[in-house]
Assembly symmetry: C2
Homo-oligomer: 336 residues x 2
DNA sequence: ATTATAGTTGCACGCGCGTGCAAGACGCGG
DNA sequence: CCGCGTCTTGCACGCGCGTGCAACTATAAT
């Protein structure tokens, strides 16, 4: 094995420069999009780089330029399949634009600070929070000591100053759902939400109940599951409906998201012997893959994840510096 | 705001050194576990670091030491909820030991090379492949040009040389499943696997069919879904069972993983009017959360993900350099 | 041919920290 | 008091690349 072959990944710009007969900086320019470099040298550099198998070291590049090209994705909710959809979209679209994603788990017990600190130690250009249960108050203290350049709350509401929100427009969404239910003739909804213990605003709940009251003059009872997973939802719904006489029963259960809606349906069918939608209708939110399965055919609301991710790109590039709320789409299936 | 307050994340070891009245290298030693440093200086440094809000820059550290502390997790399968379980476990356990995880999407069309190249540009210490559908042949060429220090195939079989496999022991697993089915009196199984188009070895399928033939003397018919998702599974199972007379019907469908098993159940119940397990039993693999829901109660096989992840840690630390196969556990529920 | 202009190239310095070595400080027995 | 071993500390150099500026070359206009 001669010395030209054993490029064990340690081919630097200097090597390419030597091979192409130019300086190291010309090599860098050849890889930069609109740098001032002649076509001839660029071609020569590219050819040499290809021959040597050179690829810029993004770690060194990040250190020198103070732009790591890294985005931390922080979540505390791995129970919801919707997170998988978010992760897929985020990593794929960000990667296509040259961003790498650092996936971080933020445990419930300790606050977001630990995750944000770890992210800052990697010099991330931005941190994206896609958890559902982080506490706004705690987040504030984390922000106080923050070193992360940009902090984006993704697919969730937050009025936190110093934070950017990119989310589906819950107001439009919940109105669409309410309008649909009213049109279908439903009159006694119950809203099933996630945990009530955090300071996190339960935006969908308040929006729906306010709008329903505005249109019908009647208030909407609400339930809270202990967690954002189907098990907690099953338990709560079973407890709520068990022994309730059919005439006092709600005619539709509006759920804060799909995984909770799925749990509600499971409770109704498997534990209470109720039919969906004949006995009770159900709506969800997110449009996770399971919602489309023939076993559920859940009427739900699809968030515009791709559009949201593209907005995130603009935030990363500094083109957008304000909150973004995008409309989604009501997906009608068989549970209403 | 005085100059002590505006430490906008740019507190370096030099600042701490000045504040503590020592040299920068003593600061570094204070943060290193068993470095030769006196208790007194360490305490002084730690105090100064805390006061200034100092945290080592892992990017610079990685550049200097050639150990980035980064692990790339590469997958091409975001349709299977099991991936979410894997991601949760991997990120959480690796992070607890100081490793950060880079999540990368490896599209089906282009090979693994692009992802591995991107990973190497970030100087990852290892790349972990948790996809289900990557092509072994293509992987070989990617390995040829590789710069990634370690490549681990996680939760999947691969005989690729130069690669380390950490997986559940499929041989034990499929035998356990077969033994269980035989004991329950099932005699006409069908094996439902994922796509057959790649060169990837369908290890569970061959192991099950071989063992079943060995024990009963009868071969096992096999089916292949077009993809590892429930939609493809539903389509394949519906096509297979439609119009089949009850006496020629298999009495149990053994599935390569849970998401395919769920699809099979959906097809049987929703499209064919069959009952599970009365008309056909079903087994899965992975024990995804959905398998435990009352709507399915799927008998399945749980991979020892935590133990596998801990083995991965040992691989990262260089303690383990050979393939690892760990036994899982059969989880009996209501579909058999 | 001369000068202005744009286009192109090279370079010193720095990003923050690790490594290996050499120098200094300290304690102990002789 | 000296000499020795051990513990502790400081430092030169490098990791690979970006930035801003200065120098240089080619092209066009005078």
């Amino acid at each position: 094995m001669n010395s030209l072959d054993d490029n064990d990944g340690s081919v630097t710009a200097d090597d390419v420069a030597a091979a192409a007969g130019v300086s190291r900086w010309t090599v860098a320019r050849a890889f930069k999009k609109d740098a001032s470099i002649s076509r001839k040298s660029r071609e020569r550099v590219i050819a040499a780089a290809e021959a040597l198998g050179y690829a810029p070291d993004l770690l060194a590049s990040g250190l020198a330029s103070d732009r790591s090209g890294l985005v931390a994705i922080i979540t505390n909710d791995f129970n919801n399949p919707h997170k998988l959809v978010l992760l897929e979209r985020l990593t794929r679209i960000l990667w296509a634009k040259g961003w790498a994603t650092l996936l971080m788990h933020m445990s419930d017990s300790d606050d977001a600070s630990a995750a944000l600190l770890a992210a800052s130690q990697r010099r991330v250009d931005a941190a994206v929070l896609i958890g559902t249960r982080f506490n706004d108050a705690v987040l504030n203290t984390a922000l106080g000591a923050r070193r992360v350049k940009k902090l984006v709350i993704f697919a969730r509401y937050s009025q936190n100053p110093g934070t950017l929100t990119i989310a589906c427009d819950d107001v439009i969404a919940m109105r669409d759902i309410a309008d649909h239910l009213l049109e279908k003739g439903y009159r006694r909804p119950v809203f099933l939400a996630g945990p009530d213990t955090q300071s996190a605003k339960l935006h969908r709940k308040s929006t729906f109940t306010a709008y329903w009251q505005e249109r019908t003059g009647t208030p909407v009872p609400t339930l809270h599951a202990d967690a954002y997973d189907s098990g907690a939802s099953i338990a709560r719904v079973t407890r709520f409906l068990a022994g309730q006489s059919p005439d006092r029963r709600p005619d539709v259960m509006v759920c804060e998201n799909d995984i909770i809606a799925i749990g509600a349906i499971d409770a109704m069918r498997c534990h209470l012997g109720l039919r969906v939608p004949q006995d009770i209708a159900v709506t969800g939110f997110d449009d996770i893959p399971l919602a489309a399965s023939p076993a559920y055919l859940l009427t739900t609301y699809r968030q515009p994840i791709t559009a949201m991710t593209e907005k995130l790109l603009e935030v990363l590039e500094g083109k957008v510096t304000h909150d973004v709320h995008l409309p989604g789409r009501l997906v009608l299936r068989a549970t209403t």
